[in-house]
Symmetry: none
Subunit: 154 residues, 2 copies
Amino acid sequence: MFVSTTTNGIDAKGRVSVPADFRATVSGQGFPGIYVWRSFNGPFLEGGGQRLLEDYSDAIEDLDPYDPARTAFERVIFGGAKALSFDSTGRVSLPKEFLDHAGLDKQAVFIGMGKRFEIWDPTAHAEQQVDDLSFARDNKSALRRPSRRRGDEA
Amino acid sequence: MFVSTTTNGIDAKGRVSVPADFRATVSGQGFPGIYVWRSFNGPFLEGGGQRLLEDYSDAIEDLDPYDPARTAFERVIFGGAKALSFDSTGRVSLPKEFLDHAGLDKQAVFIGMGKRFEIWDPTAHAEQQVDDLSFARDNKSALRRPSRRRGDEA
DNA sequence: GGGTTAACTATGGGATAACATGGGAAAGCA
DNA sequence: TGCTTTCCCATGTTATCCCATAGTTAACCC
């Protein structure tokens, strides 16, 4: 599970350390690195480990072959994602198109989202966080009812 | 279940012993430690074990993948939490931002809240307790009827 | 029952390892 | 060849591991 928020520096070569917690989360998933793509919901990146991509693949296979949503997801996620492997110290180097899309410059904010994570520019993130916090405060009742635990469905 | 209230010391390194009862509660949940986050209801911390986070995750997954509410909750809940693992004697070290948010200094009060727990500064807790007591006195009728047990929703 | 042991708890401090980061050298690609 | 990317080593800081102590509770046994 990806949790917590970490800000790391981007060096002159475009390299950034992936938070150690995140590296631990994807370790043992096969590919020693992360998959990252440009979000279609705003100026930030989304990413996860190999298992996440496999989950998306399974979900997409449940859709009709020519469902427009299916081809859109295929193009955006599989076509737009890039496999970034860790170097020996746990860094990845972000392609220029990704830096541009997210407005990244000197620093990158990694936000754990449970099954996946997001990468933001610090300034953009600070603005977004204000909205998210007030939204969560105002709507927390939507989560108030404990959901059924896994295995209790039957 | 997290019950009872315990006050433990915070040492110069920011370490604090998690009450043994609480450690027993989360043992066997997978992650050997606790998840802690800054409450957005006041100057204190909230926390729980891995199972609690999974409950939140399940509740969030009932929403549509790109529902704005869903991403907001994911950012606030998972992004705001931190996984703190126990050392060999059952301590965790609280990040500075957490100490600041809760006004923690020399001591931390762990309060069992059933499925989760709270961490307060002793002074702030004493003040809050006065309010809680009078509120409980005024609203005791609300507790008369037992609530449904988990799994009885249907 | 009284007294002793043994386990566990909370805490302190020093040594050690891990993390994020910078720079240079080698290897790929045009 | 010129440029970019990947690999490898070096560094300072921070966190974490590991030991030791002391007080408390529980267990035990004569």
